[in-house]
Symmetry: C2
Subunit: 219 residues, 2 copies
DNA sequence: ACAAATCGGTTGTTTTTACAACGAAAAGGA
DNA sequence: TCCTTTTCGTTGTAAAAACAACCGATTTGT
């Protein structure tokens, strides 16, 4: 657990909390470590979550396969990000998606109820962490709205432009790399891979952008 | 302000707080009332929010019109619901959508920073309200994920089935009414109205459902 | 009560997507 | 290294959606 303190320190959840205090909070919050090999399921559709999950190594996809095998990737989780926080409320139902390790990964589980109900030992940090949690779930919320913005576009081309220009803005650069290969990007935008590939190449031929593998440059 | 206490009492934000305590919190949180006529803008794209908004009368749409006049309705807000909570974090940018009154409406603004930093007078309720706020934004989050579930469906028919069966589940009944007319439903699902209308009638002819105006029944 | 606006359904045409199938290049494993 | 798998682009066809235009019915405002 100690190995990951320096990572936790840089997460938005523990932002502003000193390393020593994080360590004491971890035991206070009943922290548990868990490892997953590439391709393993961290959560399955239908599970009931009691803990918040923080990724400290590797990367995850939150995805959903429907009856007909259509996969849709809801979001990617990278090191330091939180996961499942929206499904720990008592009135929330089961977690509706699958969470899969894209590479060998390590997560930490934290008891959310101990987090919300301040305890005696580290109260001054509890307040800070609860506030951090609120801001973090806010950000998740904003990202979901952004994704809805992409998905609400009618054509594959518009979806691509919407997504790629947002990534460019987020990276503050025309050049950036995306965390997807073609199939995954198609699953993320909920479009057909071949049609998307086709559209990407057309856009390249029209001089709108350049790309190589998952490296893109908008022009 | 007092007129709305009984409504606030039933909101998820103030769940579990007594009416008297709500009243004292309102002044503590710098509550302000504001009214809007049907069709008026409550917020415009690009505004920077400093307050949380609670709707106490009427109904709102959160929507977005793109360069070409395509409207997409992100969500509906009904009495007792919270609004804008994801855009009060210091690092969050401007509010990306328009909020429009669908009928004559009244909202209350609450200073979120006073809410997050406990004050001396009503601290025991602050903790409760902060927790409520977390659960409420969690629920918003889950609804966004559900909406992404609808939007990720490839065809108009699948989107309709996804949305309608979820509404049925939410109402725990095969019969239910939706808060949209046809154009609004199309804007909500980001599809063409006439194509959607066509698909709805086909589904009715196939015996999948019945409807009249905004009243639906799944069979 | 009457005119205007809104709403919902229908149809035909054009555009776009989904789907299937294939091949070349690259990556990965034995 | 060789073989297998994955990845990505390409093409053609069938299906679906977007778009535009129209009409009748209902609602709204004056």
């Amino acid at each position: 657990m100690k190995n990951y303190i320096s990572i936790l320190k840089r997460t938005s959840l523990f932002s502003g909390v000193a390393e020593d205090d994080i360590l004491s909070m971890l035991s206070c919050l009943g922290a548990r470590l868990s490892s997953y090999k590439k391709g393993e399921y961290v959560f399955c559709q239908g599970e009931h979550l009691r803990d918040i999950t923080v990724l400290v190594e590797g990367s995850l996809h939150i995805q959903n396969d429907d009856y007909w095998g259509n996969r849709s990737i809801l979001s990617t989780i990278s090191v330091g990000e939180m996961l499942g926080e929206a499904y720990v409320a008592p009135e929330s139902g089961a977690f509706p998606n699958d969470v899969i390790a894209m590479e060998d990964s390590v997560v930490i589980f934290l008891d959310v109820h101990r987090m919300l109900t301040t305890c005696s030992s580290a109260c001054r940090f509890h307040a800070m962490v609860v506030q951090n949690m609120f801001f973090t779930i806010s950000e998740k919320n904003r990202r979901l709205v952004q994704k809805l913005g992409h998905m609400s576009k009618r054509t594959t081309r518009e979806k691509l432009i919407s997504y790629l220009s947002e990534e460019a803005k987020r990276c503050k650069s025309q050049s950036f790399s995306i965390p997807f290969n073609r199939q995954q990007l198609a699953d993320f935008l909920s479009v057909d891979r071949s049609a998307m590939s086709n559209e990407l190449c057309k856009m390249r031929d029209e001089g709108l952008l350049e790309f190589e593998k998952n490296q893109f440059k908008l022009l």
